[in-house]
């Protein structure tokens, strides 16, 4: 197989527009049937050359062939400059649920993409049409098959189906100058990256979840080594938990991840929207809601393929959506004026749990400092009284019949408390604050220790939890 990846001369905006098209099923069907090209804002035109759908697996693919102008008219050349395979995304709520339920934050999207599933279909039905049901080997299904009117069809996932479709396009244009690439949004973007990496064709995806783990071990290693960084671009609105991950950002997508603004600022907002499904009872729930509850009711559209989530400069390069200094190239951990993928540096993220432990430790240190301030208070209070005595003592000259003991009496007159040297504060409350901070810090140190152990072996986290809780 040819392992050289050609870089097409299309812009981010061209891919954005083609990805948007994949959601307009009627328009695409019409363009396909009438053989009319779709012209974008940059005056580039594409014919819909192929439409492939599989309602059982969710596959929705359009093959776009770049048109050429001949004598003022658009024509479909035999050897087009570009062929783009566009994958349609899927139900957004479902993909959000998949991302959220994925353990540890990195989307796994379940199983092996090549896993075969058997379906029952009418004998004359085309293989990509909707099956009657999944084959489960029951007596009823055996009877159906015996009737001779039905057949068993084996299908793999939409990832694998898309992969094969792209492989066919690569084969079709082998030996020509045509550059093949893939694009898509959301799950469609994940399809585009998956097929792109496997077939060594360029891909541009929008708000797609990380599917690094869907590849075989060897490809995963290559991805982590950055071998695909120059050829696969994931353009992500960091507010979006499908594209960015739900707490910390994904370690990486298959190639280069371009955030449309600083991802760190979006973390909190993603968490805000993530907390609601917990339904945690009691004080804990109240505490979480008090910190994160403000955004519960909000479900901003961070995911859609529209201009509020993605904007482009005059050259068609993706640009920052919040007017800040540029887009963020996660692979080189820096902002760049546009989303070029020249960075070869591989980002090695600390494990998510280690990061948590580090932040918690910093919070504990902060709490210790605050506790010291409370402990220091009686001293500060004594000094305050001394200062007042000193200032007012200097004014005794105005009162020829009074002496320093009258200043002391006047201070006591204004003191609401007279206990343990405390005059202007409740010593019991001060002690309780000190004590409660002491117990809180001790308990947080215990939690921090658990997180550190959990980070050491995430696979064993359930056992570690059991040990920690003495279950």
């Amino acid at each position: 197989m040819n392992t050289k990846t050609d870089i097409p001369n299309l812009t981010d905006k061209d891919y954005f527009s083609l990805s948007q098209n994949t959601y307009s099923e009627k328009k695409m069907r019409k363009a396909y049937e009438n053989k009319t090209p779709l012209v974008n804002d940059s005056k580039k035109a594409f014919y819909v050359d192929k439409i492939k759908k599989d309602p059982d697996t969710g596959l929705d693919v359009y093959v776009f062939v770049q048109a050429k102008k001949k004598e003022g008219k658009w024509v479909k050349p035999k050897e087009p400059e570009n062929v783009v395979v566009g994958f349609q995304g899927t139900n957004q709520e479902q993909i959000k649920a998949d991302v959220i339920s994925a353990d540890g934050g990195n989307v796994v999207m379940g199983q092996d993409p090549k896993k075969k599933v058997k379906y029952i279909m009418k004998k004359e039905a085309p293989e990509n049409s909707k099956a009657i049901t999944k084959y489960n080997g029951s007596m009823e299904q055996a009877m159906l098959l015996k009737s001779g009117e039905y057949k068993i069809v084996t299908k793999t996932s939409q990832f694998d189906q898309g992969d094969k479709l792209v492989a066919n396009e690569v084969k079709k244009y082998a030996g020509t100058n045509t550059v093949i690439s893939t694009t898509g949004h959301s799950l469609g973007g994940a399809d585009a990256e998956y097929a792109g990496v496997n077939n060594h064709v360029y891909s541009v995806a929008f708000n797609n979840p990380s599917i690094v783990k869907l590849h075989d071990e060897e490809t995963q290693k290559k991805i982590r080594n950055g071998e695909f960084d120059l050829y696969h671009k994931a353009i992500i609105n960091p507010d979006d938990m499908v594209g960015a991950g739900w707490l910390l950002e994904y370690d990486r997508h298959n190639g280069t991840t371009i955030y449309t603004k600083d991802p760190s600022q979006s973390r909190r907002e993603r968490i805000d929207r993530f907390v609601s499904p917990f339904g945690v009872p009691g004080v804990l729930g109240n505490l979480i809601t008090s910190f994160y509850g403000q955004a519960f009711a909000k479900d901003p559209d961070t995911h859609s393929l529209n201009e509020s989530n993605f904007t482009f400069d005059k050259n068609g390069h993706i640009k920052s959506v919040d007017g800040s200094k540029g887009v963020y190239n996660q692979n080189i951990e820096s902002f760049s004026s546009y989303s070029g993928m020249n960075g070869q540096t591989i980002k090695v993220d600390a494990k998510y749990a280690k990061e948590l432990a580090r932040r918690l430790q910093a919070a504990i240190e902060d709490l210790k400092t605050k506790k010291q301030a409370i402990e220091q208070f009686p001293h500060d209070h004594s000094k305050m009284i001394y200062d007042v005595k000193s200032i007012c003592g200097k004014r005794l000259g105005e009162f020829k019949d009074l002496d320093p003991s009258d200043v002391e009496k006047a201070i006591l007159f204004h003191a609401p408390f007279v206990k343990d040297g405390a005059a202007f504060y409740d010593s019991e409350e001060q002690y309780q604050t000190e004590a409660s901070l002491h117990y809180l810090i001790r308990d947080l140190e215990d939690i921090s220790e658990f997180i550190v152990k959990m980070a050491e072996d995430l696979k064993d986290k359930d056992n570690e939890l059991a040990r920690w809780l003495r279950l």
Partner: protein, 95 residues
Amino acid sequence: MDADEFYRRLQQNEELKKIVGSSLKTHCQNLKEDTKHASDFSSAQQVVAEVYVALLSSFEGKAKDALIQRLNENAKMLTNATENRSAFLRSIKTK
């Protein structure tokens, strides 16, 4: 001490109390503000709440239920510390 002297002293003491009261009020307020600022642990609270969310999302089923109980204990401690601090800060005052 005759009556005049008594009333004069009384008057001077009242005057002194006013001066002392005014000075105390300012100093107490400053001390309260400084202590409030020096003991503000809201950013640590934010991190702790984030830790709760992260831990809760890492477990499921019975493990998560047990974790909720355990984290509830910590949340109570955090709430106590917050409430105690507020009560303590409120107690810093003149009569």
